[in-house]
């Protein structure tokens, strides 16, 4: 912290009066009293963690968000999402917005950052829910959940959880009609208290699903030529078939993995098997294989066209059938 302070005073513009020991002491005191060092350190850490492409915009949002938390009554900087899904307290809405903001911070491929953010979001949503008995307090697998807050809520309310997932999907650019079947699988009853690992699973699935759908949309754009109208059904089916085959291969590894989940001794071997499966799967969806499939499809496949929506739905179905139904 101290060297950071030094760097700042060293980088002060030349117009500033310098050399006055009393003034710099007074400045230091002011900064430490106002907690500026802590504030900036937290901001830089968050920023480095998220690796946003627009760091300035990120900091602006970050400080706006912090300011809206510390000053109750003001709602961010005016760009907070407004989603009115039934009667809801303003506080709950605010918590939902902040939780979503946290979830947006890091991409899910940055596992540790994403897990931290999921945890923060869970705590936020948890603290808004009605007070419950402390008996069904869920265990946090990461061990990083804030204890004091988990005691308050006892679990995120199912309604809030569903709303979070809906928002994640729609923000990810997935149309409601496409995400609806997935959300049905992840659904919890409105009155249920959702434990942390279910929450995390739901959020992660929605994040991956949004990515997947975006890729599928891009894939369709590649397959179809924009001037020639929709892509031919034959090509679409070929692409989807290749995709399914690859997914089946990679899923085999997960089933395999679940069987051996408790035996830690051969975890190395297991990881090897898993890696091999993934390699196999990616080989199955390599440009070469795909090209081959498309070439054969072009000569002898079903006739007719396939529009973007149909392709998206079919691709989504491939994904959704692999998501476990929550009981």
């Amino acid at each position: 912290m101290a060297d950071k302070e030094k760097r700042r005073s060293g980088a002060a513009p030349p117009g500033m009066p310098d050399g006055k020991a009393t003034k710099s002491d007074c400045d230091k005191e002011f900064l430490s009293q106002a907690g500026v060092g802590e504030l900036l350190r937290g901001a830089i850490l968050k920023m480095v963690e998220a690796r946003s492409d627009d760091p300035i915009g990120f900091l602006a949002d970050h400080f706006c968000n912090l300011a809206s938390v510390t000053e109750p009554g003001t709602a961010g900087c005016g760009d907070a999402d407004q989603m009115n899904n039934g009667p809801q307290s303003a506080q709950e809405q605010q918590h939902l917005n902040r939780a979503l903001w946290h979830l947006r911070l890091a991409h899910h491929s940055q596992r540790s950052a994403f897990s931290n953010n999921v945890c923060v979001a869970y705590d936020l949503l948890n603290s808004t829910g009605p007070r419950r008995r402390a008996a069904d307090v869920p265990e946090c697998p990461e061990g990083s959940c804030n204890d004091s807050q988990t005691e308050v809520g006892g679990g995120v309310r199912g309604g809030l959880y569903t709303q979070t997932l809906q928002c994640l999907c729609s923000e990810g650019g997935v149309p409601a009609s496409t995400s609806a079947p997935l959300l049905r699988r992840l659904h919890c009853q409105d009155h249920e208290a959702v434990p942390y690992d279910v929450f995390r699973h739901g959020v992660l699935t929605c994040a991956v699903f949004s990515d997947y759908i975006r890729q599928a949309q891009r894939l369709y754009a590649e397959v179809c030529c924009p001037d020639e109208g929709p892509a031919s059904r034959a090509l679409g089916m070929a692409v989807l078939g290749t995709l399914r085959e690859a997914l089946e291969t990679s899923q085999g590894s997960e089933a395999n993995c679940c069987v051996n989940a408790n035996t830690t001794s051969n975890s190395c071997l297991e990881a090897n098997v898993k890696a091999k499966r993934y390699l196999e799967a990616s080989a199955k969806i390599s440009p070469y294989k795909l090209g081959q499939a498309m070439a054969t499809a072009q000569t002898r496949g079903p006739g007719g066209d396939m529009d973007a929506k149909e392709f998206e739905n079919a691709a989504a179905e491939l994904f959704i059938t692999r998501v476990k139904v929550l009981s």
């Binding site: 760097r7 700042r8 980088a11 002060a12 480095v48 690796r51 602006a60 400080f63 940055q110």
Partner: protein, 330 residues
Amino acid sequence: MNRFSSAVPDNEYLADSNVLFYLSDAVSQLLEHKEEYTHVGVIRYFAEYFSSVKNSNHVLFREYSYVTATPHNRASFIRVFWRCYRHIGKSGALLSMLEYRSLLQLLCPDFPLKPVQSAARIVLMDDAVDYLMSFSDFLFAFQLQFYYKEFLDSVLEIYQDLLAGKNPNTVIVPTSTEQLPLVAAEESDREQQQDGVEPSTLAQCVEAFCDRFKHSHPPRSCMRGVLEQTNRISYHSFLLSLAKHEAINQAIGALPNKSEFLIDPEMDQELDKLIAQISVSPGSNSSGSAVGGLKEMLQRKASPRRNIHHRRRIEGESDGSTEETDSSEN
């Protein structure tokens, strides 16, 4: 989300983004105006600081060294300049170099003469003080000169070396292909110095220079395109072509394209409102209130944190100085 570049170390990520520069400026501004911000709250102050950086309002009324410190600041300043004085272009008024400088000084009190002179030279091919320029000519020349200052200065050196018969690249990049331009440069030297240099020679030198230049430079393809068009090019005509190049304007990203840059219904409405206010307000002669109105408009565009501090300074300055007296400085 820049998730694929996580291999870049944290300190490089921070250095690339200029974020530390803005953080240190935010802290020194905070210290300079402590009293004003203690009741607003430090977090709210930082939120407003970075929002204004994001919205490009942060350069208004700041010192020249700050305005030129980062590419984002330069682009923001060009944008602010355009937004504040667009109506001049609309009215079709022609102004002299010193008048443009006065306008710039309303936005940045210590704006020096030299960059304005260089921009005017692109338009006028001359150092004449009292020649008049249209707003759009000046704006696009100013944009090029202001945004790529360091690059253009270096290109001028290269150009002068070429004129003098030296090839600057033969010393620094000794490859076999560089022998050719050297011969070409000598030939051009024999012919005539005043008419500029062989475009292909300049193109090669500029390409090689871009490779080792750390700051921002215009897109290479644009420069190549400009240099391919003629068979003889001078430094001045090179700059003039770059200033008019639409792709460079887009690369800087501060201004809309040339056909649209005077259109702004929102600003028109605001101006109409201002004019209505001025004609209603009693006891003010027309010229005085026009300046006041302009100032008011600038204040409204400014980020909130600079207002109080600068209002006094700006008024003090612009009241005393007419546009002609500026030539006494520098």
